[in-house]
Amino acid sequence: MADVAAEGEVTADAPEEKPRKDKAARPWFSPLRAAFVWLRDHYMTMDPRTLGFFRLVIGFLVTADCIRHWMDARLFYSNEGILTNHYHLFRPSSGFNFSIFHAFSTPGEVHVAFAIATFCHFCFFLGWHTRIFSVLSFFFVTSLDNRLVMVENGGYVVENLLIGWAMFMPTGQRFSVDALLRSFRERKERSSAELNARAPFAWATKPYVSLIGLVTTLNIAVIYYFNVVNKSGHIWRKGDTVHYVLHLDRMITGLAVPFREYMPLWMMRPVAWSVLVVEALLVPLILAPAGRRITRPLAMLLMTGLHGSFGVMMRLGPFSWFMIAWSFLFPQPVHWEILGRWYTKKARAWVVVYDRRSPLAFFMCRLLARLDLCERLTFEESPEEDATPALLRVRDPATNEVHDDHAALAAIARSLPAGRLVWPLFRVLTLGLSAPLFGAVARRRDALARAWGLGAKPRGREASAPPSPLAARAGRVRAGLREALVAWFFVCAVSQTLNENKSVPAPFKHQQPWLMQATLGYPRMYQGWGMFAPNPISDDGSISVDAVTLGGRRVDPFTGDVPDLNLSDARGLGLNQIWQDYFNRIRLDRNKVFRHGLKEYLLRWHEETGRPEDELVAFDVYWLRDQCPLPGQTQPYKHEKIAILTYRKPGYRPPPGNPPLPPEPKVESAGN
């Protein structure tokens, strides 16, 4: 059982623990208390290892996502692109729209902003000053979304939510630079005996108890619940969803094309139904209070399979990957123990014999002791009689097999958790020169130790002093405030879920107070879950620009080629998520005001190419739409070409020899 301590931490299974106060609660209160204890133990207690690993996963994803956007920074986020910051500030896409990216105008400035954002995300990934960079990551993620709301999809909202919830978790407690530095600070080993005494740090093993555990569990369950109940359309019922989705050329990847071409319809139907079944199954699997040893890994497996297949087949941006990342909150202590036992069996045990005179060797051993989570290494000083010992030597205690220096390091690396993955990466990063490098280090061990000050005796306090009563009290107040904030976010999320999902009965819909709207609106932490619901999209489309340059060339500035105004022969358009969502949204009447930016961009296109003759003297922006083939067929039908924006340079007459400008088509609605 666990006891709530300062900072929301708990002391787990401490034998000296005093009897819980709740056992002595007043009788009328005890059922409520018992319910809370049950809830706390089942849904609000999180393992620090799970949180640490979760941070690694979302830190990596959020960094990658930032770099993905960075690659399109000029076009989508700078004033040389399709939506200038001043125009978006003048006509915000939504209420409560705030983005720090609005402060950055030129491509150079925007690149600086992306560099700062990427740095923050990467520090969060590493777990360096984790809490600060967690908050900054959230700030930059939501800012990026708010800067160009037009390209937002469910994935962006999931990303906002997940990175938002992560702010309330101590994700830097394990597998982080912070944890490593803290362990170095608090445990200053002086001998091999101390290196071998691996009592875990209290802070590294204490489960974390917070309402946020319940919130994240309920949130992911709610996502799947509404994804199932909102998919009530006939296409889902008939099982034709996969067929339609695979024919959405603007969204699919190249991998999806052979599937749609060679997969028979009778095979697609079970796949489509299985999606519904899996999503429906996930709700009980996630919420199950018992048997979690099985249900949670099963849920992880199903989520990874489901979203992994979406992710490789479709360009949905961050959706699939962040949904998979969410499942990394599921592992329970028992799973870590199983994993540990499995790895302990699998990894080879070594006795690490280090140069007893070398502070560098001892420092390396201190580091290895911290990385050796499964305790496969035992440390031993080199014999006194050995005048020239290897910097590091490993010996298999069973076979007496011995490796020295670089070979020893390689053997050690393979025994460490994730070492088999990291070691090749290390080899690549050192350009394959790790062996000579290590040799050089070993030869200059004394000089290097002096250079880094490793020879000095460890100083300072051995362990972190227990917090003073005042600090503990302050910690409890902070934890209370944090829980209150989480509770407020939870209330907001519940309200938003009721309001935003169509399947919720009308009596539950309500007007939100201003503060709630602001809480949800600024970070765009919405809760509408109905991807491909009630039916999948059955019409496909994209934007094509038919432009004429000053030089008389017909060109689509987005491709640089001759305009392709017929998409019916497409086998995937090869557009990334940002492009395809922008094209899909800019056509809508509600985004008409933002076509001004598109027009400005097209008029500046020749500046981008650097050729004055590329100046556009006329262009027509078309939304090309066709209906996906009916089930059992392969050809799309009802091809339409809808002009959504046109331009003719005032007073321009083509020079002799050039064809006349095409007649200006009528601008029509391509959707609301």
Binding site: N85, F98, F104, A456, S468
Partner: protein
């Protein structure tokens, strides 16, 4: 000798840096509070310059960046201001000083760049000083960082430890980079030269105008846009006084740079320079509304204080203020407070003695040594168990809150506070508080995690190994060399850029080719280096007057809330302050014409003075004028003579006064129907 001279220019004493940090942070806080009431008018989209309008207007000019551009509504801007305040407070306290210093710079630049029409020389000066000092350890003294570091470095356990005032040597300081460390850096020279440039450039401007004959101050005081309420009263000071002060200000601009650059006799020469600069800054700050300018120079004076002055200040031992403090050595929080008092006691006036040994009384001497004298008769074991006991040089015994007041009195700048603490009533209240604290001191010690009893704590091994720590590993030395080199290289580039910009913007007798890179280096942080402060155009100046009428038909100027003041004798726009006056002076100029539409819209919605008033008091129309006037020679009356008016724009029904007959000077601005 050469090395000493070089080091005297390339280093600034850590105490000077600490004092500068505190004064500059106070100036920044004051500046923020000055702007805060106008957050709606100048920073939000409901004001005179919405963010989208500003970015749009700057689209071709570029090199203006403010994070405040991301904040649109009034509420959002209040949040942004609150964040800036927190940053400034962090800088003031010296907590994570380098981080909060950099963030303060970003905050200040953003405040200026969000609405470039508000800027003046004060912004340029404050940004420049803050930027150059970013490369110096401003948190090395008088800061939370220094205090925390000092507590960690010297863990005094006994009265002997407390009375040990041995200072670390320069070598120790350089090795540990502990409190008091200040590097040899080009940035130190750069910031000093920046102060010199400000003053020399100001002098260059002033020598070209009426300041040469001593009438500069008179003319400057007649400029409605600059003068403060105090300055208005000073307009009628005797001509001799005005002339004398005018010459003094000009002399300061000329003499201070010389005094600062003389490498010898630093203590007296720098002392004079600091004194003159303080007078200069105070005169400008009190007589004029120049925003940050005067107060930034006041803060900058701290940077000119040499180490010799600080050392002399610290050596100033006054036997009358020397006190022996008998504290409860069994009480952790008492020891902690004694350690704090020791750190604040720059003059070593305090000598500490635990209450366990009453065989005599320890008393400090001017040379820093401690002697043991007879215990005054009134001090008993019971007394020292119950209360703190403070004994002065004459043997007078003070206890309870009076003892605390005596300790405060012994500290630098503590006398005024000690005086207040001794006042009847306040001292009684403090006695009650003291007793409450003393009674609970053991519990409080436990509560904050300090030793509750005075069992001698084991000596930390680290003390014995302190000497070892002085040997700086070569990797650390290399890192310091690289970071120091980069720091100085950047400071050098920044300085050259600032110098080139100053040469371009001011009538200085030299020019430096600037190029795009150097121009960008000063343009982004808005270090525009134009030091034409109080450069008077006696022939013509002007004020912005709105002839408005409200729905009741009454004449009102929505800027001031008073009837429009067209007559130069009745001008009242000075009450608007520097921000409004600089804004209005710029927005009327052709260069800033694109900014006028937002002003018109803002005034149409009421303007600053009519905010929140009843609907029938809101404007139904107005005319905007630039009323020009010339300034008469000293002694002539009236001092200001109207030269004419320019009608800038009009709105709806226009104003109510009969001055509406003037044509609009800009034909493209039509009356809005």
């Amino acid at each position: 000798m050469g090395k000493r001279i070089l080091s005297s220019f390339l280093t600034i004493d850590a105490r000077s840096l600490g004092l500068f940090r505190i004064t500059m942070a106070l100036v920044l806080c004051g500046d923020l509070f000055r702007r805060w009431p106008w957050v709606r008018a100048f920073y939000s989209n409901e004001g005179v310059l919405p963010n989208h309008n500003h970015i749009f207007n700057l689209r071709d000019k570029g090199q203006v960046w403010s994070f405040l551009h991301a904040f649109s509504s009034v509420g959002e801007n209040h949040v942004a201001f609150a964040l800036i305040l927190l940053v400034y407070l962090g800088f003031l306290l010296g907590w994570k000083t380098r981080v909060f210093h950099a963030l303060s710079l970003v905050g200040l630049v953003s405040l200026g760049a969000r609405n470039i029409l508000l800027e003046n020389q004060g912004n340029y000066a404050a940004v420049a000083l803050l930027f150059f000092t970013l490369f110096l350890p401003l948190g090395s003294r008088f800061s939370v960082d220094a205090l925390v570091r000092s507590y960690a470095d010297r863990d005094e356990k006994t009265d002997a430890d407390l009375n040990d005032r041995t200072r670390p040597t320069e070598a120790e300081l350089a090795a540990t980079r502990g409190p008091g460390w200040s590097p040899l850096s080009f940035a130190a020279l750069a910031v000093t030269l920046q102060i010199v440039i400000i003053l020399i450039a100001s002098a260059a401007w002033h020598f070209a105008g009426p300041w040469r004959d001593g009438s500069g101050l008179y003319y400057a005081l007649q400029v409605e846009r600059w003068v403060s309420d105090v300055g208005v009263r000073f307009q009628h000071a005797p001509a001799g006084v005005l002339k004398g002060l005018s010459y003094l200000l000009l002399a300061t601009e000329c003499v201070v740079p010389l005094l600062v650059l003389v490498p010898v006799a630093r203590r007296p020469l720098r002392g004079i320079a600091v004194g003159l600069l303080v007078v200069y800054a105070l005169a400008l700050g009190v007589l004029f509304s120049l925003g940050l300018y005067a107060w930034t120079l006041l803060a900058a004076a701290a940077l000119l204080l040499p180490a010799e002055s600080w050392d002399a200040f610290e050596r100033r031992f006054s036997p009358e203020r020397a006190r022996s403090v008998v504290y409860d050595e069994d009480c952790g929080v008492c020891l902690w407070l004694a350690r704090l008092a020791k750190r604040l006691d720059a003059h070593t006036h305090l000598t500490f003695q635990g209450n366990g040994d009453l065989s005599g009384l320890l008393r400090g001497k001017a040379d820093g040594s401690v002697e043991k004298v007879d215990l005054p008769a009134g001090i008993t074991e019971e007394l020292v168990q119950d209360t703190i006991v403070v004994v002065d040089a004459k043997g007078t015994v003070f206890t309870r809150s009076r003892g605390i007041a005596e300790i405060v009195r012994a500290l630098p700048l503590g006398q005024p506070l000690a005086f207040v603490m001794r006042l009847p009533g306040i001292s009684n209240l403090l006695d009650v508080l003291y007793d409450a604290f003393a009674k609970r001191r053991t519990n409080i010690s436990v509560l904050v995690g300090l030793d509750a009893c005075g069992l001698p704590a084991p000596k930390d091994e680290s003390d014995a190994e302190a000497a070892e720590a002085l040997e700086v590993p070569s990797a650390v030395r290399a890192k310091r060399l690289v970071t120091g080199g980069l720091r100085d290289a950047f400071a050098l580039v920044l300085f050259v850029a600032a110098l080139a910009q100053a040469a371009k913007e001011n009538p200085l007798p030299f020019a430096i080719p600037q190029g795009r890179v150097l121009a960008a280096v000063v343009a982004w942080p808005r270090m525009l280096e134009r030091w034409d402060v109080l450069v008077v155009n006696t022939d013509e100046d002007g004020v912005f007057v709105i002839d408005g009428q409200n729905r009741k038909g009454a004449s009102i100027d929505p800027l001031t809330g008073a009837p429009p003041a067209i007559d130069p004798a009745a001008f009242n726009t000075r009450k608007l302050g520097q921000l409004w006056n600089d804004y209005l002076n710029r927005v009327r100029q052709r260069e800033y014409e694109p900014y006028q539409k937002a002003l018109r819209d803002y005034l149409g919605k009421g303007g600053p003075a009519l905010e929140g008033r009843a609907p029938d008091e809101q404007l139904s129309g107005y005319d905007a004028y630039w009323v020009k006037y010339s300034i008469a020679k000293p002694g002539e009356s009236p001092a200001r003579v109207e030269k004419g008016r320019e009608k800038l724009f009009t709105h709806s029904r226009g104003g109510r006064l009969a001055i509406d007959r003037l044509p609009i000077i800009k034909p493209d601005v039509r009356r809005q129907e």
